[in-house]
Subunit: 401 residues, 2 copies
């Protein structure tokens, strides 16, 4: 096991969650040197003596490092606990799985709520603007720290897929296989537009205080809640919303803030179930996520456009790369539609990369990658196991490749 990893937890599956502080910090694309650099992460499984079985899982916009164990904040099961674990498609009996909270996040890695050494106050809106390259560069520091030269695989959905693609573009020699899932090589105009609405909702909140809400002991909860509600719609398909809620109504629960919600009462004292669901999504989100992190990370997504860095030719980002790709999209995902995965796949083909592409039939929208989708599970298991065979990974006598 690598330096810095201790098995503080003894439950099955074995997991550790901890943070490393790298005093030397990191040079960001915008020119700022950010130090120290904290990276909070979890690991699952055991790193092989050859250090060749590590899988980095990259989380999405509002995800965190708690893939396969309950979140210490919400107590809910890990966000990919149906995918990562003993015997699961990403099998922690075989692989050493790492997930770190992204740079700019709010779950232990350096971000807007971290204390700025020179002022002793939180960075907040003064946190430097980061990019997907910076997020990956921070992960590189963690992988170095763990003593891992080459990752067996990098896997990520949505913004996690952007990180996975950036890993290959920036460090293809350090990634044997990659799975970009429900993602895109660029953030679309529509997605930039949705992010802008989110941001304006947060900035409109009276508790925003120009981003210095911590100084006032407040959070822009309503604005952030509105942002989350809107984003949540984009994560689901119209079919999924119709199946889950349709036009069903329920009797409205009395609110505590009567005057502010006076308008919320409906024609017959009932509200639509989808309204109730969205309000719940908004109100639980603000308890676990920081508004300045949300703004920082969504902007990093907005700036993501790999082709633009190669004179508009996406293939150049992957020229001469030996990494094996498995690109996955979902048929009803309208946030990161299959057409955007096809742009990626065509570029990979032009670059002569080793690529397979699967569009999973699902009517559950973007969120499908987090849900029980047997075809998707089979795809992940098949690609990981096949790549492990090609990589010549060994797991002792009983269960070799």
């Amino acid at each position: 096991m690598a330096d810095g990893i201790s098995s503080a937890e003894v439950d099955r599956p074995v997991y550790t969650h901890q943070a490393v502080r790298l005093d030397e910090g990191i040079d960001l694309e915008c020119g700022v040197h950010l130090a120290p650099l904290d990276i909070a992460y979890c690991t699952y499984g055991v790193l092989s003596p050859a250090r060749d079985n590590a899988i980095l899982v990259c989380h999405a916009l509002t995800g965190d490092q708690y893939i396969a164990e309950p979140s210490p904040v919400t107590g809910k099961p890990g966000w990919w606990s149906r995918m990562v674990g003993p015997g699961l498609p990403i099998d922690t009996d075989r692989f050493f799985v790492i997930c770190s909270n992204v740079l700019g996040g709010c779950m232990g890695s350096t971000g807007p709520k971290s204390i700025r050494p020179d002022t002793g106050r939180a960075w907040d809106t003064d946190f430097p603007q980061i990019t997907m390259h910076d997020i990956v560069a921070a992960q590189v520091r963690l992988i170095d720290y763990l003593g891992i030269g080459r990752l067996f695989a990098v896997v990520g959905g949505s913004m996690g897929g952007m990180q996975a693609l950036t890993w290959v573009a920036d460090h293809s020699d350090r990634v044997f296989a990659v799975m970009p899932i429900a993602t895109s090589p660029f953030h679309s105009a529509q997605n930039i537009a949705f992010n802008e609405v989110s941001r304006q909702a947060i900035l409109a909140d009276p508790h925003w205080h120009g981003g210095r809400y911590r100084d006032f002991g407040e959070i822009p909860a309503r604005g952030l809640g509105v942002a989350r509600m809107m984003a949540h719609i984009t994560y689901l398909s119209e079919e999924a919303l119709t199946r889950k809620f349709g036009r069903r109504t329920r009797r409205e629960v009395a609110t505590t803030s009567k005057s502010a919600d006076a308008e919320a009462s409906s024609l017959f004292g009932e509200i639509f179930e989808v309204e109730s669901y969205l309000r719940h999504q908004g109100s639980t989100f603000v308890r676990r996520f920081d508004a300045n992190s949300y703004l920082t990370i969504t902007r990093a997504m907005n700036y993501f456009d790999l082709a633009a860095e190669y004179d508009g030719d996406l293939a150049e980002a992957f020229r001469k790369c030996e990494t094996r790709f498995c690109v996955v999209s979902f048929s009803s995902d309208w946030l990161f539609p299959t057409s955007q995965s096809r742009v990626l796949v065509r570029a990979l083909n032009r670059a002569g990369a080793n690529v397979s592409f699967v569009e999973i039939e699902s009517d559950r929208g973007h969120d499908a990658f987090l849900l029980d989708e047997p075809d998707f599970d089979r795809t992940v298991r098949g690609f990981i196991n096949g790549a492990a065979e090609h990589a010549g990974l060994k797991w002792g006598n009983s269960d070799a490749g």
Copy 2:
């Protein structure tokens, strides 16, 4: 020309815009009797001696009665001035075209900003919740007042299409032909969800004041702006956004409210053009539209579900109706997708109605019905002229049928 109409304007095309106050008021579905009832409207063209050439155009959520003349509020051309006018598909040389501001609106018809007789203050959040049936019932009063027994046609897009369908469901004997455009016989779970986000954005604004913002001399401009920005995304297709803006950036214009917008500055001092466009859409909207009207009307849309009123059988809403239908959808409209028009058309077929259905190929999304779409223009002209022939309309010697 009917009672109550004067030709105050002499420009070509001839138009009048005025309001009528009906002291007897109106009984609403919710049980409230609302009096007086003001209806602000515009007319174009001349009512025939037989009073058989009237076309009622129903406007969409944020539309108004100024179809074919500049809005007195914004100074911009009428919202359908490319469709309604002399020689245009809805030809004011032949037809007498009427458009009234909807009940609940904010352009002269009775709505939340109207003065309540018993209190002398604006209704605001006490304005009774209205339905699409109430909106149409108010239009019926106007048509009665104008001395028109049967409308030659009712035409409307988006929420205007909901009104058109309601006209036929409630008064098929008074509608010879109907064009429901880019609309649906029910408001979908996804659309209810988007409306809920809009509402929460408005309620989150500190200037909302529990809906009593007028008493404070304020408007919840940022919340309403956020609502409009989000809605605007849903009016366009991803293709349209990509073509119009893509990922292009521009140098950011300095804002007056530096502290509130501190976060708005971007990585390289530039913002995406789509961001700038949406902010403009939001900020201009709040100058012309009332937040309480927005909430009242969106909720009326939420409650729209014709089939539910007929034990779930939409065909029953149109049983034995003689009205001629032309249903129009646009291929890239994801707010009111073609699938929802198909639900309507199948029900009309089951009801044995006279129906034609056209899906216009367009990549411009929901807004296509307001834009230059030659196939759509041809469809409108063809249906209107064909129906006029069937109705046996005469226009003197020179241009009959």
